[in-house]
Amino acid sequence: MAFPILSFIIAMPALAALIMLFLPDEAKTAVRTIAVSASIASLLGAIWVVREVLARGPATFHFEERYNLVPSLGIQYLVAVDGWGASLLLLTGIITFAGAVASTTLENRPREFYIFLLGLVSGVFGVFVAQDLFVFFLFYEIAVLPMYLLIGIWGSTGKVKSEGPFAWAMDRLDVGGKEYAAMKLTLVLLGGSALILAAMLGMYQAGGHTFDMGQLAKVSFSPRLQWWLFPALWVGFGALAGLFPFHTWSPDGHAAAPTAVSMLHAGVLMKLGAFGVLRVGMVLLPDGAQQWAFAVGTIAVINIVWGAMSAMAQKDLKYIIAYSSVSHMGVVLLGAATLTVNGWNGAMFQMFAHGIMTALFFSLVGLIYERTHDRWIPNMGGFAKVMPLTAAFFTLACLSSLGMPGTAGFVAEFLVFLGAWQSANSWWAVPGGIGALVTAVYVLRGTRDIFWGEGPPEKFAHLTDAGFAERVSLWTLGTTLVVFGVWPRLLLDLIDTATPVYLAALQAHGAGVTP
C-alpha cells in the first residue's frame, strides 16, 4: 500500500493537538515548536501532492484511501485528490504555516489556542480531499466549530451602536461583543450545515444509498429533485462563503477573531463554503446548477458590490478587511455561477488568491492591532514612518485586493469576469468590474489614512515594525501572492486538469448551457 499522504496531511495537525493535550500549560516553547512543525509537515505534504498531481496528469483522482466506517450505510472514509483539491491543500498549508508562525507571539493560553486551531486545520484539510459526501460533511463541521472557542476566548470586543428598526434586538444581544460574534458565526454556519445535511440525505436516498461522490456524480437525479436540493446546498455552503444576505456573521466574526483565526477563517474556511457550492452543489447536481445559475450569479454580483460598498463606509480596520472578504467571495461564487471553464478556473484561483491575500491582510491588521490596541482608522496616520515593512505589505495586499496585475488577485478576477462575460448572463461582468473599482477606492484610502501622512500621532510614535516571526509570515504570504500572480500557471495548470472534466460532465447532463 502506498503511503497515505492525504491522511498524513490531515492527521499531522490533529496529532500535534493531541500531543499538546498532554503537555503542561507552561510548556509554551514546546507547544509553539510542535505547532509550527506540524504545520510545516502538512505544508510539505501539500507541496508534494501538488507536484505529484501535476506530474501524474489530469482527469482522475490520486492517492485514494478508502476505509469503511458504517459499511451497511455505505459511509466510508474516502479521500483522494484532484487538481482542485490539491490547489486548496496548498492554500491551507501555506496559511496554516503563516498562521501558526504568526501566533507564536500569543502569550495567553497558547496551548489551548493551538489545540483548537490545529483541530480546525485538520478539518479543513479533510474537506478538501474528501471524496465521500459524508466525510466531507464531517470534516466541514469540525472545521467550523472550534471557531467559537477561538473567537470567544482570544477574540477582541468592539462596540456597535444600537439603532434602526432592530435596535431592541441589538441591545439584547450585545452586538459587537466577541461572544456575540462567536455565537452568531457558529449558529449561522451550522444553520447552513443543517441545509447541507438535508440535501445530502436527499442525494443519498435518490442516488442509490451511497455517499461516494464519484458514484453520485454518475447518478442522474431528476431535475425536480435537483431544483430542490441545489438551493439547499447553495445557501448551506454559501452561508460559510459569505453569501448575501447570510454574510453578516463574517464582518463581526472576523473583526472579533484573533489574528491567526481571522487568517484561517477568512483565508481558508470561507473557501470551504465556496468549494462546497462548486464541488458538491454544481458538480453533483448539474441540472440544479443550471436551473439556479442565474440566481447564484446575480446574488454573487450583489455580494461583490454590497460587500465593497459596505467596506467603504467602515472606519474600523478589521471591518474593512472583513467586508472586503464578503465582496471577494462574491467573485468566487460568480465564477462558479458562470459554468464556464474560465469562470471555474477563476473561482478556484480566486479561492487561492483571496485566501493568501486576506490572510496577509489579517496578519497585518493583527500586527497593527497588537501594537496599537486600536482598530479605529481615524486615530491612525503616518504609520509608514515607523513600520515601513508593514506598510509595504499592506500595500501589496491592497493591490491584490483591487486586482492589480502581477498579483494573484488579478488573474483570479480576470478569469472570473471573462467567464462571466462568456456565460449566459454577460452583464454580470459589469457590476463585478465596478466592485473591483470600489475596492480600489476603499483599500487605497485605507492605506493612505493608516500609513501615509505626517508621522504617527504622539501615542503611536513608539510603534515597532514586524518582528521575526511576523516577518516570516508576511514574506511567505506576500511572496506567494506575487509569484502566483506573475506566473499563475503554477496553480492554474493544476486547477485546469480538473475543471474541464467536471464541466463536461455538467454539460453532458444539462439541458441548455451556453457553449
Binding site: P58, P165, M309, N345, P405, W421, E454
Partner: protein, 625 residues
C-alpha cells in the same frame, strides 16, 4: 545578438534591478548603490532597445513574436505573454528607455537631498516603472498590455505619492489611481468582450477580420478601449488627475506624466489600430475628443502660475493632438508626435525641474530673469518651448504639421472633423502663447524674488538636458525612417513640403509668441493677462473637477454609508431580530412553568383533551374523505 536576447535585456534588466532592490532591503537603503544599479539597468535597456531599433531600421519585414502560455483554458492556451518586436514597438522601446535613462540620471542630483532610504525607494520604483513600460511596449496582445498598463499606473501612484507625508501628494496619488482605474475598466471589459467574441487577445489581421464581421462588437470594443485611453492619456473629461499628479517629484512628472506613461494610451491606439479602424464611429469620436482636449487644456494652461502645471496642461493638450490625429486616420502623425513630444516635453520638464531645484519654488511669480543665472537651462527650455510651439525645423514642427494635415484631410470625409481641425489649429496659437509666456516670465525680465541665489545644477542635471536637446532639434528630420518602421506605404513624408494648413499654423504660432511677448513683457499687456486668469482658473477647477468630486462623494461615500447602514441595521438586524425574538419567546414560554404541581396536571389534562378532540375531528374529516 539575437533579437530575443536584446528584447529580454531591454525589458528585464530594469526588472531584475527592481526585484533586487525590493527584496534586498540593505541594498535599497544604501541609496547611492541602489541609484547606481537602477541607472545601470536603464542604460542596459537603452543599449538593447537602440540596438533593436537599428536592427529594425535595417530589416523591417516580419514582426518577431516570442510568446508562451500564461493562462490555460481546458488544456489549451487562453492567453499568452511574450515579446513582440516590430516597427512599432522597437522605436517606442528606444524612446522610453532613453527618456527614462535621462530622467534617472537627472534624478541622481535632483533627489540628492532625500535620505538614503527614500532615495533608494525612488530608484526602485523608477526601475519598476521602466520595466512595466517596456513590458507594455513589447506586449504581443492586449491582455499583457493591460497588465503592464496597470503596472505603470501603479508606479505612477507610488511615485506621485513619493512624498507620502504630504497630504496633497497623497490625495493626488489616489486621485490619479482612481481616475485611471475607472477608465481601465473599459479596457478590461473591452478585452473580455473581444476575447468572448473572437477567442484571442491579439490585434493581428486575422483577429480583426473576425471582429469586423461582428457588427456592433468592434465598435463596443474600440469604444471601451478608448475609455481607458482617455483615462491614461488624460483626455477630457478624465484629464483631472494629470495636473494634480504634479505633486510628485519633477523628474517623475517628466518621465511618467509627460513623456511615456501618459503616452501609453496613445500607444494603445497605435498598437491596436486595426481594431479601431474596424470601428469608424469611434475614430471620429476619438478625434473630436482629442481636439476638444487639445484646445481646452491649452486654454487652461494660459492662466497657470505653477510652471509644472502649465507643462501638465500642455501635455494634456498635446496628447489631445495625438489622439485627434489617430482618430483622423493618421497613424503616422499621431505616433510621430508621440515620439517627438516625448523628447521635448521630457526636456521641458527636466528644465523646469532644474529651475525648481534652483529657486525652490514652482511659482512663476517667484522666478524671472533666470537667463542670467542659468544659461543651459534657459537654452533647453526655450528650444523645447519652440519645438512645442511648432517652430520650423524643430521636431515638433514636423509632427504637428502631419497632424493638422491629416485633420484637414479628415474634413473632406466627414464634416465632424472640422471640430478637431479648428480646435487643433487654434491650439497651435494658444500653445505658442502660453509657452512664450512661461519663457518670458521665468527666464527674462527682472530677477524674481527667489531667483537671486539660483545657479545651474551639476553635470548630472545638465547632461540629460543636453542629451534630450539633440532629438528635440533634429528628431523631425528622421520622420522618413520612422515612417519606414511603421510600414505604411500609402503615407508620404517630406521635409520641405509647404501646405496651406502648415502656413496658417506657422502664422498662428508666431502670432502666439508675439502675443506672449506683448502681454507679458510690456506693462500694457500685463493687465490684460491678469484679467484672463480667473477665467482659466474657473475652467480648471470648475465643472469637470466638481463633477468628479461630486460623483465620488455621492456615489462612493454617501451611497456606501447607505449600504453599510442597511447591512448593519437591516440585513444583520433581521438576523439579530430573529435571535432576540427567539430569546424573548423562550422567556415568554417559561412563564408557563409555574412551578405548581396542579398547574402541571392541568396542562397534562388539557393536552389529553386537546389530543382527544383533535383525533375525533381528524377522524371525522378523514371519515368523510
Amino acid at each position: 545578438m539575437r533579437t530575443l536576447d536584446l528584447a529580454l535585456i531591454s525589458v528585464f534588466a530594469p526588472l531584475i534591478i527592481a526585484v533586487l532592490l525590493i527584496i534586498v532591503a540593505p541594498l535599497r537603503r544604501a541609496g547611492r548603490a541602489a541609484a547606481a544599479l537602477s541607472v545601470g539597468g536603464a542604460f542596459a535597456s537603452v543599449f538593447a532597445s537602440v540596438a533593436l531599433t537599428l536592427a529594425r531600421l535595417a530589416d523591417n519585414r516580419v514582426p518577431e513574436i516570442f510568446e508562451t502560455t500564461w493562462l490555460p483554458e481546458a488544456g489549451k492556451s487562453a492567453a499568452t505573454i511574450g515579446l513582440q518586436i516590430d516597427g512599432i514597438s522597437a522605436p517606442m522601446l528606444a524612446v522610453v528607455s532613453i527618456v527614462a535613462f535621462c530622467v534617472q540620471v537627472f534624478s541622481l542630483e535632483y533627489m540628492a537631498d532625500e535620505n538614503d532610504e527614500d532615495y533608494g525607494r525612488y530608484f526602485t520604483w523608477h526601475s519598476l516603472f521602466l520595466f512595466s513600460m517596456q513590458a507594455l511596449v513589447v506586449a504581443p496582445n492586449i491582455l499583457q498590455l493591460f497588465c503592464a498598463w496597470e503596472l505603470v499606473g501603479l508606479c505612477s501612484y507610488l511615485l506621485i505619492g513619493f512624498y507620502y507625508k504630504k497630504p496633497s501628494a497623497a490625495r493626488a496619488a489616489l486621485k490619479a489611481f482612481w481616475v485611471t482605474k475607472f477608465a481601465d475598466l473599459g479596457l478590461l471589459i473591452g478585452l473580455i468582450v473581444q476575447y468572448a467574441a473572437v477567442g484571442t487577445f491579439g490585434w493581428d489581421a486575422e483577429t480583426v477580420a473576425k471582429l469586423g464581421a461582428l457588427g456592433v462588437v468592434p465598435v463596443a470594443v474600440a469604444a471601451l478601449y478608448f475609455l481607458a485611453v482617455m483615462g491614461k492619456s488624460a483626455q477630457f473629461p478624465l484629464h483631472v488627475w494629470l495636473p494634480d499628479a504634479m505633486e510628485g517629484p519633477t523628474p517623475v512628472s517628466a518621465l511618467l506624466h509627460a513623456a511615456t506613461m501618459v503616452a501609453a494610451g496613445v500607444y494603445l491606439i497605435v498598437r491596436a489600430y486595426p481594431i479601431f479602424q474596424a470601428a469608424p464611429q469611434v475614430m471620429v469620436a476619438m478625434s473630436v475628443i482629442g481636439g476638444v482636449t487639445a484646445v481646452f487644456a491649452a486654454i487652461v494652461a494660459i492662466g497657470q502660475n505653477d510652471i509644472k502645471r502649465v507643462l501638465a496642461y500642455s501635455t494634456c493638450s498635446q496628447l489631445g493632438y495625438m489622439v485627434a490625429a489617430l482618430g483622423a486616420g493618421s497613424l503616422f502623425g499621431g505616433y510621430f508626435h508621440l515620439g517627438t513630444h516625448a523628447f521635448f516635453k521630457a526636456m521641458l520638464f527636466l528644465s523646469a525641474g532644474s529651475v525648481i531645484h534652483a529657486v525652490h519654488s514652482n511659482d512663476l511669480s517667484h522666478m524671472g530673469g533666470l537667463s542670467k543665472k542659468m544659461k543651459w537651462t534657459t537654452l533647453t527650455f526655450s528650444v523645447g518651448s519652440l519645438a512645442l510651439a511648432g517652430f520650423p525645423g524643430l521636431s515638433g514642427f514636423f509632427s504637428k504639421d502631419q497632424i493638422l494635415e491629416s485633420l484637414w484631410e479628415g474634413t473632406h470625409r466627414d464634416p465632424l472633423f472640422w471640430i478637431p481641425f479648428l480646435a487643433c489649429l487654434a491650439t497651435v496659437g494658444i500653445t505658442a502663447y502660453y509657452m512664450s509666456r512661461v519663457v518670458f516670465l521665468a527666464f527674462f525680465g527682472k530677477l524674481g524674488e527667489h531667483a537671486h541665489h539660483a545657479h545651474e545644477g551639476g553635470i548630472a542635471m545638465r547632461l540629460p538636458l543636453l542629451i534630450l536637446l539633440v532629438p528635440t532639434v533634429i528628431g523631425g528630420l528622421f520622420g522618413g525612417q520612422f515612417l519606414g518602421l511603421l510600414a505604411l506605404p500609402e503615407v508620404e513624408f517630406h521635409l520641405t513640403h509647404v501646405t496651406p494648413v502648415g502656413v496658417v499654423a506657422l502664422v498662428l504660432a508666431f502670432g502666439g509668441i508675439g502675443l506672449g511677448y506683448v502681454l507679458n513683457m510690456t506693462p500694457a499687456g500685463a493687465g490684460l493677462a491678469s484679467a484672463t486668469a480667473p477665467v482659466a482658473a474657473f475652467i480648471e477647477y470648475g465643472a469637470v473637477d466638481r463633477f468628479w468630486l461630486g460623483a465620488y462623494n455621492l456615489l462612493m461615500m454617501a451611497l456606501s454609508r447607505v449600504f453599510a447602514w442597511l447591512d448593519r441595521y437591516v440585513v444583520d438586524g433581521m438576523l439579530n431580530g430573529i435571535g432576540a425574538g427567539a430569546l424573548t419567546a423562550g422567556e415568554w414560554l417559561r412563564r408557563f412553568q409555574t412551578g405548581r404541581a396542579t398547574d402541571y396536571v392541568y396542562v397534562v389534562m388539557l393536552g389529553v383533551v386537546g389530543l382527544t378532540i383533535w383525533s375525533q375531528f381528524a377522524a371525522l374529516v378523514g371519515g368523510s374523505r
